[in-house]
Each structure stands twice: as structure tokens, then as C-alpha cells.
Symmetry: C2
Subunit: 273 residues, 2 copies
């Protein structure tokens, strides 16, 4: 999964040795250039690298036209199927349902149609307690039932093997919320409640609060307020204005609102645990 | 003047400290992504940097639609006038006439409409010989006439001051020919005859001659043959297939046809003298 794709994304992917042929889903938040000018280059490289696997792109209406026009004028017929799914800038929507995760979009408050993305892990199978399996040889039926979180019962509904006794409680489910470009908007809180990790833009510092309001961007402190109200695990800041050569004031201002805040930096991996 | 604009051009311009606000003319040879995917990013940056000066883009039909569609969906009204001039892929054409230079396009032989560019210096004013001016005080009229290469005569058409005696012969006029993507095509020779510097693609080496013919690209030797027949000053190779980690065989193969051949490399300045 790739969220947003500014100019030079494929160059950065190569630089950081990320195998971009593995990308199956691309999510574009909105149609300002810094969020999608690298998309055509990536699509072209997939084509030149003889990709055959389906690529699905989620993004605002109009992105399909932008892609189609460029393929038309370069007389390109892609080697692989490309599916485009328009996002809804007005309401929360489930856009992808996979075995292990789902993806939702929700409205952001920017100058043009813009959505956030929430990637949520789905409840998986429980793990059996090894020691208990060594004590008793369980039938396959019982194992399947327990892994799905159901007690194994006999015909008279007596519990023979209980989920509690035979399995570990499931790992807490992880989720990642991504708010690319948005003005301060408390409406966002309800969509991202309890996310393990929230990426929220922090274009400006407190001293540019007015400018943030005018341009539909957020301050670092705004991002902190959203994170605190949404009770997320961690907050990751990004989308800094180029005026900030030193980002530590932004980090401090956000931490005053929400201590578990970090600066996103190029090429760094952030883990959700 | 900028010729072609692949993805990341603005990043490279910044890296090599080239002031890209100075660019007034952009020439796009054809609509394959590696030749224009950086154009929208550059236009956007001009806009964000509050450019007000006219920008003129020369390129194939369809490029205007590609630009317009993207401006429309990002709801952008540029701060500066953008003029688009379609190039003619069928015939040689004068597309720009400036005080000191002119630019012509000519057809290349590629899979889609593609043109080469020839930038030609125009004949300038002659320089006066200092020592002669100290001997004689010339009237302004005579000076203007001599600088324009005309003998200064009296009413009876007798030469008073001759161009030959009073001025240096003009510096030879420089020209630069750019052949982005093209199959081997002797038709090109007539358009670029005598250019001071020829950039010609050299995607492949001799061992891939067949592949070059199939894909409408050239070998390094092809570029050398064109350079020799066009009697250019120097040949600059480029557009190498990524398979060549070592470019010296390409250079050798071209030099076998045309000794004054050089490899173009990123970030290097090549002077015309």
C-alpha cells in the first residue's frame, strides 16, 4: 500500500531499496501536485517493468481523467489491469476489505476535495497455548473452533475445551490513520478514534496559526489536539512548511498537547506495536 | 531554455543550483514520460514561487490537454501567463525568433510524434578594431554601418571606411542540435548540418542493433554516423539504456564513426566554442 505519491516517489523508493513492484494499492488523498505528481512515473515504471498484476488506485474524481489523458497521448496500452476507485470527499466510506485489514476514507477540510485514510487490522485467529496441546491431543475440529474464538462443546452443549484455557488472548489490533492536508477540524476525531498511529499534517507552528486557518492547513499544536481527543497511541507529524529548517519547535508545540508525538523524517521506518 | 523535463527535473535543478525561475522557454520533444513527467511539478513550483513572467512551452499536440486537465482538477489558476505552442512532427519549422538566436524543430523517427530542436545563434554585430578607432575619430553613422557589416561610403559611393579594415571578422555562429529519441535516420542530417554541438540519443550498443531498430532508438555508432555526415563540431551521447553500467563501449563505438564524441553525464556543463 502506498499513500500519496509526490514527484520523485519512485526515485525515493529505489533509494531506500523498497521493492515497488509489491505495491498493489495506491491511495491519493487529493489532487494537489505534491500528493500525486509521481503517480504517472510509477505507473509507467510498472508498465516498463512488465507488471501483469492488478493495480488499484483510490483517489478523487478527476484522477482517472489525468491518468487516461497521459496514457492516450503517449499511445500507451498498459501491460497490467489498472482499476480506479473514486473516493468520496463527503462521507466516511469503507473502500477496501481484505482478509487481514480494511481501509476507510473520511473527509478532511482542505481547499479541494481531500480524504484521510484509516487502515485497520482485522481480528485474526487466536493462537493455541503450546503446553496445553502437549497435555491433550485435540481433534482438528476443536482446534479450528478454538482459533476462531469459539469454545468446543459436545452435543449437550457442555464445554470440553474452552477458548480461555486453550488460547492466548489475541494481540490488540493495529490501525494507522493518515491525514494528509487539512485545516484544524474536530470532526476528524470520530473517524480515527483509538488509532495506534496517527499521521497528521503540521504545516505551521503556533506563530503562523492565522496563515494555517487561511490556507486550510494545521499547526503542530492542532495535530496534538486532534491526537489527544482521538486518544490515539502515537502521533507522527509531517508536511512541514519549507520555512522550518529546525523542526524542534513544531515537535515541542505538539508535545505540549500530546506527549507521544514524533517527527516523520524521510527514509525512516515507524513501527506499529 | 529547457529541453525536455523528466520526473524530478526540478529536484536536479535545485541540486545543481540552477536558478530555474530564469527559464522562459521549455521544449518538449515527445510525450513519453521520461521526457515530460517533471513538467507539471516545474509549472507548479513557478506558481507557488509567485512567478508573473510569461512561460512558453513548445511541445506535441496533447501536451496542452495534459497540463489543462491537471490545473483544472487541482483548481489552480496560474499566477503567470502560460503560452503553449504545438510543434509540427512532419516538417521542419521555425518556432522561435529572438534577437540573438532562433529555434527550429525537425521530425525525428520515433514510435510517437517526436521532434528534434536546433538552437542557432544569429549573426550579431561586428566588433571594431580598437587601434583603428584611435587613429581616426569615426562619426557615429560610420560606426553603426561598420558594426552591421556595411562599408561606410560617401554620396558618390566611394568607400571611406571599409568593414574589412575597421572590424574584426565575426565570431563563428554557434548552434546546438538536440535529438532526443529517434531511430537511425539519415533524413536528420540535412536539418542539423554543421551544428557546433549535436546531442544524439545512443540507447544501445552495437550488440543490440536489432533491438534499436525495433524500438525506434539508435546505437552509439548510429549517432556517430549521423554526426559524421552532418559534419557537426562535437557529438554528445545520452539516453543510455540502464543495462550499461559501463558506458565506455558506447563511447568507443561512436568514436569509431566520429572521433569528436563525448558522453553526456548528469550535472556536467558542456560549452560550445
Amino acid at each position: 500500500m502506498l499513500i500519496d505519491c509526490g514527484e520523485g516517489t519512485q526515485i525515493q523508493l529505489r533509494k531506500f531499496k523498497l521493492k515497488f513492484s509489491k505495491i498493489d494499492y495506491i491511495f491519493i488523498s487529493h489532487l494537489h501536485g505534491d500528493h500525486f505528481f509521481g503517480l504517472m512515473g510509477l505507473i509507467s515504471s510498472f508498465h516498463l517493468n512488465k507488471r501483469t498484476r492488478l493495480l488499484t488506485i483510490f483517489g478523487p474524481n478527476g484522477l482517472d481523467e489525468i491518468i487516461t489523458v497521459q496514457l492516450k497521448h503517449s499511445n500507451t496500452r498498459l501491460n497490467f489491469p489498472l482499476r480506479f476507485v473514486p473516493t468520496n470527499p463527503e462521507n466516511e466510506e469503507l473502500i477496501l476489505e481484505e482478509k487481514k485489514f480494511q481501509v476507510l476514507t473520511f473527509p478532511l477540510k482542505h481547499r479541494i476535495a481531500c480524504t484521510g485514510f484509516l487502515i485497520k487490522e482485522k481480528s485474526g485467529l487466536r493462537n493455541l497455548i503450546k503446553e496445553k496441546l502437549l497435555e491433550n491431543k485435540l481433534p482438528l475440529e476443536a482446534i479450528n473452533s478454538l482459533r476462531q474464538g469459539k469454545d468446543f462443546k459436545d452435543e449437550s452443549e457442555n464445554v470440553i475445551y474452552s477458548v480461555k484455557e486453550y488460547t492466548h488472548p489475541p494481540r490488540p489490533l493495529r490501525s494507522y490513520a493518515f491525514c494528509s492536508d487539512t485545516g484544524f477540524d474536530m470532526e476528524i476525531v470520530k473517524y480515527i478514534k483509538g488509532a495506534s498511529l496517527l499521521y497528521h499534517e503540521a504545516t505551521f507552528g503556533n506563530e503562523e496559526k492565522e496563515r494555517a486557518r487561511e490556507t486550510f492547513h494545521s499547526t503542530a499544536a492542532d495535530a496534538g489536539v486532534i491526537a489527544r481527543n482521538a486518544m490515539v497511541g502515537k502521533l507522527l507529524l509531517g508536511h512541514y512548511s519549507t520555512r522550518y529548517l529546525d523542526l524542534s519547535p513544531l515537535l515541542e508545540e505538539a508535545r505540549a498537547e500530546f506527549p507521544e508525538t514524533y517527527l516523520s523524517e524521510e527514509g525512516i521506518t515507524y513501527t506499529l506495536d
